[in-house]
């Protein structure tokens, strides 16, 4: 979803990509999604191929990253095929979002849910259930579909177009219109966004679990600068990665079972399988239990690397520790100098772009964002309630915490 967000290349090409992405989300995908599925997903693949060809810098960076992380298992040809699939999947995910209209039946016909009995058995315990997942496949649409199929579900995750003060209100409205509105239609509560400073989020998740609902958590999210002290290091994709074990802490505090869930797209690009595992054993130390979750995520990524969305985000891979931190090139140096100028003059519009520590040294004159944050979760949620401002925890994240807002 984030092809238009960042990237090198000439300004003209970047502008063209942004315009194409805008047109695809607003006009192309809604029209294409109304076609028969086989044709709709074929068109999405063509569009993915076009995006791949028109973004050679990103493509070659992804090939390098894939080969660096997956190592000798991957030949150059395989890496190129995976990269092509990454672009295709990204286009298909937009079609999935569009097919959530109405009661989401047009998407439901294409998605098989395996392991539903595990989830129902977990909910029979009366303490809710946590679906531990990753930024893998069309997870947002498939979780909306799971809710539409009768299982009350809420997601935890960061949608930072709501928070990034560098995002214009037009852009924010755009993502709310084309994406958030559609996926949240099929959710029990508003998305729970665990930004630093929002100390009520775990209580919101616990409230959902107490109501015997399902909460999904993507445990492959890279820790933000403010969260590094709580991250644990563990083997992940052949490196010592930094991951957040919050899923296990929440499970231990609430007594909710943790199940793994991944949405796999089939080779025909249109059918998907949501696979839900039996509960993960939580015995032993939290790190040991979380290690089981991380191993399951790694296994899913290695089975089908092209379905992991983070290949589009070298910066996130570096923060995870899966890729070495990039050396300071000209672009990064220029960004840091610009950031330094903004911090020293007290005018910083994107505080979490700052290098570690800088944001803590100078006050950021950021716009108030409290009105954009959905309210603490009520038992049943209406759109009007979602506009209510929260009374606390609305401080923007600080320092080096950028996640591409459009890559959800």
């Amino acid at each position: 979803m984030g092809e238009a967000a960042e990237g090198a290349g000439s300004p003209r090409r970047q502008l063209l990509r942004k315009a194409e992405s805008l047109a695809y989300w607003l006009v192309g995908a809604p029209l294409v999604a109304s076609l028969p599925a086989s044709l709709a997903y074929r068109v999405a693949c063509w569009r993915g191929d076009w995006a791949s060809r028109s973004w050679p810098e990103q493509r070659s960076e992804m090939i390098d990253d894939l080969r660096q992380v997956l190592g000798d298992e991957l030949t150059l040809n395989e890496a190129e095929r995976l990269t092509r699939d990454l672009f295709r999947f990204r286009s298909c995910e937009v079609i999935d979002v569009m097919r959530l209209r109405g009661r989401a039946r047009s998407l439901a016909r294409l998605v098989e849910i395996r392991g539903r009995e595990h989830l129902q058995a977990a909910l029979a315990g009366g303490k809710g259930a946590i679906l531990c997942t990753a930024h893998y496949g069309s997870h947002q649409s498939v979780f909306s579909l799971l809710h539409a199929s009768g299982i009350p579900l809420t997601t935890m995750g960061r949608w930072d177009w709501n928070y990034d003060t560098g995002v214009s209100s037009i852009e924010r409205r755009f993502w709310n219109l084309v994406f958030a509105r559609r996926v949240l239609r099929h959710r029990q509560r508003p998305n729970i966004e665990p930004w630093p400073g929002r100390v009520q989020v775990a209580a919101q998740a616990a409230a959902a679990l107490r109501a015997n609902e399902v909460v999904t958590i993507s445990s492959d999210a890279a820790p933000l600068h403010a969260e590094r002290a709580r991250a644990v290091e563990m083997p992940f994709l052949g490196r010592q990665a930094r991951l957040m074990p919050g899923v296990i802490t929440l499970a231990q505090l609430t007594g909710a079972p943790v199940l793994m869930a991944f949405a796999h797209r089939s080779p025909d690009y249109r059918h998907q399988v949501l696979e839900i595992s039996p509960p993960v054993p939580l015995d032993g130390q939290p790190e040991t239990a979380f290690g089981r979750c991380a191993a399951a995520i790694e296994a899913a990524i290695r089975t089908s690397p092209a379905q992991w969305n983070f290949w589009f985000e070298a910066e996130v891979l570096a923060r995870l520790g899966v890729l070495p931190a990039p050396s300071i090139g000209t672009a990064a140096l220029s960004r840091q100098l610009s950031c330094f100028a903004r911090v020293t003059t007290g005018w910083c519009r994107r505080p979490w772009w700052c290098p570690p520590g800088w944001g803590d040294q100078a006050p950021h004159r950021v716009r108030s964002i409290s009105s954009r944050i959905p309210a603490a979760a009520p038992a049943t949620w209406s759109r009007r309630r979602s506009r209510r401002a929260v009374s606390w925890g609305s401080a923007p994240p600080r320092c080096n915490d950028q996640i591409n807002p459009r890559n959800v």
């Binding site: 009520q200 989020v201 209580a203 403010a226 606390w392």
Partner: protein, 89 residues
């Protein structure tokens, strides 16, 4: 009560040992000592330890800003519980 809460936060929640010893008036939220999961952990602890129910609506910063404010909130809850029990009896 202050000693119990201070001890629990110092032992179980504070990650950065340079912040210890913790004062009863030290701001817990602004300094980042109490994060989202830390707050939930603290709520579970005080519910067990003092046999009270912390309502979701009570999870506001004024109640959890420091050890002192936490204890003031807990005393009000314990007092409320006692007066309700008295009126029933």
């Amino acid at each position: 009560m202050e000693a119990v809460i201070n001890d629990y936060i110092s032992r179980e929640i504070v990650q950065d040992s340079s912040l210890l010893p913790l004062g009863n008036e030290t701001p817990l939220l602004e300094t980042g000592i109490l994060d989202s999961l830390g707050l939930l952990r603290l709520v579970v602890f005080v519910q067990d330890r003092f046999d009270i129910i912390v309502d979701d609506l009570d999870l506001v910063p004024e109640h959890f800003a420091s050890v002192d404010t936490i204890c003031a909130y807990l005393r009000s809850q314990i007092g409320k519980g006692a007066s309700q029990a008295g009126s029933r009896g």
